[in-house]
Every structure is written in C-alpha cells, then in structure tokens.
Amino acid sequence: MGILHRMERTEAELIAAVLKGDAASFEPLVEKYSPRIFATVRRYARREGEVEDIAQDIWLKAFERLNSFRSEAPFEHWLMRLAVRTCYDALRAHHRNRETTFTELTEPEADWLDRFVNQPDTAKEDAEAARQLIARVLEQLSPSARLVITLQEIEQRSVKEVAALTGWSVPLVKVRAFRARAEMRKVLAKIAKEKYL
C-alpha cells in the first residue's frame, strides 16, 4: 500500500510538473505506459508500420490534453480512454479510404477451416491459422463493430467498461454490440459460402 501510494504520488508529481511547463517530466510517463499503449494499438492496426504512428499520435494528444486530466481517476484509465478513441479514429480513417476487398483464404486458413468443419475438436484455438483468420474477419468489420467485438468479446470487458473507454452511452454500447455480432456472423457466413459453395 505504501509503495503504491508512493508510486501514485510520483506519477501525480510528474503530471503536475508537466503542467507547470517541465516537458521533460513527461518522459517517464511515456516509458512506463508505452507497453500498454503498443499492445492496445496492435489490436487495431493493420500493419506493424502503422502501430508506431498511432502510438505516437496517442502520446502527442496526451501531452496536449494533459490539462484535461482530473486526478480523481488513475492516469492509466485516462490514457487508455485516449488510446482507444485514437485507435477508433484510425480505424474510421482507414475504413473511409480502404481499397482492398476480401481476398481468398491462405492455405493454412483453409486447412484450419476444413478441420473445423470435419472434426471441430482438432481445430485448435491457439493455431496460427486461427489467429490469422480472426484478424481477417475483424478487418472486414465496420470500425464500431470491430471496437466492440475487441473490447467486449476478446478483452472480455463489461458493457460499463466499454462505455467508459469509448465515451458511448451504455444503451449505445448494447445496441452496437448486438449489431457487431450480427455483422461478424455475416462475415463468417460469407467466408463459409465462398469456401464451400
């Protein structure tokens, strides 16, 4: 408890120093929270090259908007909200400019799907092909559907947590989650149709 309290004070002191004009105090915060930021961004970015740009954007926004941080809540929560919203903006920007359409399944993906159809138990969740296939499915979803599926289904967050992270109301999260699941089933049906019909 004492260590935790000391760490919190240190963080609060760093933020206070940044707000007073000491920009160098921002560096320990970047160092401490960048692993979480990168892990979050990698959930939404298409390529590794895009990850660093989005992470950089998040930190620049965090610096600019630091005066809006209220110290009642932990800095990490405030930062993660900013990260999720920036990732959502990046998804929307990509969705507007997207040119690629659904491409054919790769051989490992097709094999995994075959195994799932013939002997579902042999199609393991930890297979690389399954990971590629879910990435492909998520890529086909609308930005809001992808965000909700990622936060609620994959990261297993509650509706309230999703609402807090996205800035959407609880009823809106519920509506979007319902639509997102329907959208995901539609994409899966499309894959199945293309492969087996």
């Binding site: 160098a24 959930r43 799932f116 297979a127 089933r185 899966l188």
Partner: protein
C-alpha cells in the same frame, strides 16, 4: 457449418494470442524530440494573425460601401428627412409646453 461455434473458436483464438507489448527502441526519446520540435502555441499570436487576416476584407468592404454611398443616385425623398423627424419628435414636448407664469 455451425457459425456460432466458429465465432466462439475464433474469439477464443484471439484471446489465446494477445498482441505483443513490445516497444521500439528509444521510443520515448522520439516522443520527447517530437514534443521539443513542436512550435509553441501563443494565444496572442493566434489572435493577432486572425485579426491581421481579417483587416484586408474589412477594408475592402469599407471601401465598397463608401463608394456605393458616394456614387449611389439620390432618392426622391429629402436626405435629411429622418434627421428632421427625429428632431421634431425630440422637441415635441418643448414645443407643446405652456409658458410658466412666474407672477403667481
């Protein structure tokens, strides 16, 4: 094909493979360099720039209106009509006032 089961399997696959939290080397240094290179935003400078930009259109509008009022043909009604009416209205009370008898 059971789509609900496939969905569950794929979501489980995503859960089983959390993304890496690897951070590129000296990322924080790059962020700090970016912050240092950013131009300092001065509110007064922003206002001065906006006002200075607005000065030319305002001057142009002023010149146009001046030219229009100067070259516009006079209307049939006398130009001082409004001023006369205003003067009459303001002085109406004075005109109607009875002289005070100071001998009483």
């Amino acid at each position: 094909m059971n789509l609900a089961e496939l969905e569950q399997k794929l979501v489980a696959a995503a859960r089983a493979n959390p993304p890496s939290d690897w951070v590129p080397y000296a990322f924080e240094k790059r962020i700090m360099a970016r912050l240092a290179a950013r131009p300092v935003v001065d509110d007064w400078a922003l206002w001065a720039r906006a006002l200075w930009r607005a000065a030319a259109p305002c001057a142009a509008i002023m010149l146009l209106l001046g030219a229009w009022s100067f070259f516009a043909p006079p209307r049939n009604a006398p130009a001082n009509d409004l001023s006369q009416q205003l003067e009459q209205t303001l002085l109406a009370a004075v005109d109607q006032e009875q002289p005070i008898d100071l001998t009483r």
